[in-house]
Amino acid sequence: MSQDIRVKKGLSIKLKGQAALTTAVADRSDFYAIKPTDFHGITPKLVVKAGDEVSVGDVVFFSKEDDRVKFTSPVAGIVKEVQRGAKRKVLAVIIEAKSEDSFKDFGAANPLDLDREAVLGKILESGSFAYVKQRPYDIVANPSDTPKAIFISSFDTAPLAPNYAYALKGKEDAFQAGINALSKLTEGNVYLGVNSSEATFFDKVEKATILRVSGKHPAGNVGTQISNVSPINQGERVWTLNPQGVAIIGELFLTGKYNPTKLVAIAGSKVNNPQYFSLKAGQNIQKVLAENTVTEGARVISGNVLTGTQITADDYLGFYDNLVTVLPEGDQNRFMGWLPFVGSGSIHSFSKTSFSWLAGNKTYDLNTSLNGEERALVVTGEFEKVVALDVYPLQLIKACMASDIEKMENLGIYEVIPEDFALVDYIDPSKTEAQVIIRNGLDLMIKEVG
């Protein structure tokens, strides 16, 4: 079964430093972190303390709201420290790795032979349930819910995004097993969005409805695909996963081991030899970056340039991230740079007040300059061109700013998460941080509506 989706809106930004489809071997890091801050809205209850020994899959902390939602160690080692911030909030649990991994055994099983409870139980027990995210709100899913559908997008259209077909080469069986497991969790379908212009093994995945998607970014965003197939109404839940998360769940069923190892693209114009590395979730990336990148005057981002998190060069890979981007920082004053058409050659613009739209396929070496200053929202009709959902983006942003819950509901707050508005951040001449506004709006909804 398949369905075609053509996304007409959007913008694909082409940046220098796309990762080549080769994998380099990175030295095993000495340190790994599992950060509660990667899991929005989760209050951690720590199980380990400094000095404890853990195997891969041992529980590090669980969610205070639901003790079935566990977060487990990606590596075998010894808990080195628990980093805390203001009000003793847990920021990260640092684990010093041993030279070899020992795995906790969760028992191999064919998910198709198990019932929903058993499948869910195994996923929860291993900690891989953290890969299952919920819409609305973009948070770790609630295992008590039965989602109306599960959506996975097998391709990413964001700048410098990793190629999941390449990243999962050799893990096709694990991916299929993951889909099999997920198909037990929903009363509806598992949908798999595939890039219609690229033939990959995803096209042949069973137990999932294939969505053949074409178009510019955000065509690869799972939110874009959901809105075309099954928009989320008030009270409904949809679960979403990243393809590498699916494979990790699949591997759990195939081998009985929780092994959050994935191929991560190290990309961006400050990377000498952009390519893939096999890393674990939460792995320290200092060694990887040290050999390959110029980190002087650069920004290291866990994730892509639109939605990622700024980290330092000796920091840890985010739990959900499959990409580390290294870009030059801005830091320059540009004389009269606001004149129309000035800088068209080096600074990309979606607006036609620059000639960059004429250079269709050019790749840019962009930096982190804001290219202006924050201003009141003035321009209209632009956000609609890059938000590929059936919502009025400007009006929804304003409703969120005003904390008007009824208006937010009416305008479709349940259908959006911050990444759907990432391009608004990018194109807005007033330099509004739409993703932050939407995140705050969603947090308000969680608090007031739940």
């Binding site: 870009l327 004389f335 600074i347 607006s351 982190t368 300059s369 290219n371 202006g372």
Partner: protein
């Protein structure tokens, strides 16, 4: 540019954090950012940003206004000499005369308006928004040339205070501030704003003059005293910016090509005006109704309004469908007011201000469609 940058960093030192004049930072920032796009980096949200900023958007509008402005200055001189001396002047002579009349208006408009904007920015501790760069240029372009400068100043004060800052500043105003200035002057200083003496520079000095606008002539039951070519090129009496349809279209081209001005609103306005004109042509009850529909679009500031006034994104409708409705209604009302109320040939101004007020209502009903779809889906689920 490094030298200039260093020099400026020296000058602005007292305004920086911890400096004596820290409170007045928005004032110095407004000059600084006019010279340099600041070295600010992203710290929240997307890590890379588009090259466009609000300054670039606003400056594009100013560029679009320049052809009409320069031609307008020439026309000021042309009208003056041809009416008062009876001969067509040389190009440069006319242009210099016009510049001498117009530039003081521009200086007063920018001076007064920006002073208030900066004062508000310091008071509210935000940066100066660029909106006034356009408003400040629009205001003198739509005022009669012989208006005393103090009246212009007072109109600007009213427009910025009541039209804009009272609602919360740039982005929050309901009415187009430039039209607020004109409406204020129109109702406060009527003798200076209409009649047959105000549209040609120094026309009050002599008695016999045909300084009426075309709409004024028509309202008085006369025939339009100007050829269609004059109307299109803009060699007719009127305020500086509005007369030359040709130059306005050049500006419109830039606005549409860059996407800064909404072509939907512009086209909608022209369609609305044309349809209303056609209806009146069919009725043909008086001189104004008989006036060919397409000539209606060439006079009375219709095109200037359609290109530069209706497209102000803050006071216009914001939804795509809303923009069409908004534009069409402006066109319809502009001709309607113009024809039915001969005392107000400023139909365009009235129509735009009226639709400014109704723009949020139009958007409300457009968005209601989207909300209804969502609610129906919920019911069906």
């Amino acid at each position: 540019m490094d030298f200039l940058r260093k020099k400026f960093d020296q000058i602005r030192k007292p305004f920086d954090k911890g400096g004596k004049l820290e409170k007045f930072a928005p004032a110095i920032n407004s000059i600084d950012t006019l010279l340099f796009v600041p070295n600010h980096n992203t710290h929240k949200g997307a890590h890379i940003r588009d090259g466009v900023d609000l300054k670039r958007v606003m400056v594009t509008v100013i560029f679009a206004l320049i052809p009409a402005m320069i031609f307008g200055m020439y026309n000021l001189g042309y009208q003056h000499y041809i009416q008062l001396e009876g001969t067509a002047p040389e190009l440069l002579k006319a242009l210099l005369f016009g510049a001498g009349k117009f530039l003081p208006m521009l200086v007063v408009s920018y001076g007064v308006g920006l002073a208030i904007e900066i004062a508000f920015a310091v008071y509210r501790q935000h940066e100066v928004n660029e909106g006034y760069l356009v408003t400040g240029m629009l205001i003198p372009l739509i005022m009669p040339v012989d208006m005393p400068l103090w009246m212009l100043g007072v109109s600007v004060v009213f427009a910025v205070f009541i039209g804009k800052e009272a609602f919360g500043g740039t982005g929050m105003n309901i009415l187009n501030p430039a039209l607020v200035a004109r409406a204020f002057a129109f109702f406060s200083y009527a003798p200076y704003m209409s009649g047959d003496k105000v549209w040609v520079a120094d026309a009050y000095e002599i008695d016999a003059i045909s300084g009426e606008t075309i709409l004024g002539q028509l309202a008085a039951g006369e025939q339009a005293g100007w050829s269609v070519a004059d109307m299109f090129i803009g060699l007719i009496p009127g305020s500086v910016g509005e007369t030359s349809v040709l130059m306005i279209l050049v500006g419109a081209l830039l606005l549409i090509a860059t996407g800064v001005g909404s072509w939907r609103i512009m086209l909608g306005t022209v369609i609305g005006g044309a349809v209303m004109g056609l209806i009146f042509n069919a009725l043909s009850l008086n001189a104004l109704m008989t006036f060919p529909w397409w000539q209606h679009l060439l006079v009375g500031g219709f095109m200037f309004g359609a290109v530069f006034m209706t497209t102000d994104p803050v006071s216009a409708a914001q939804t795509t469908k809303g923009k069409w409705i908004y534009g069409i209604l402006i066109g319809v009302f502009a001709i309607l007011i113009r024809v039915f109320n001969g005392a107000y040939p400023e139909g365009m101004m009235m129509a735009i201000l009226l639709m400014n007020v109704f723009a949020p209502t139009i958007d409300h009903y457009v968005i209601a469609g989207n909300i209804k779809k969502r609610k129906n889906r919920l019911k069906a689920a």
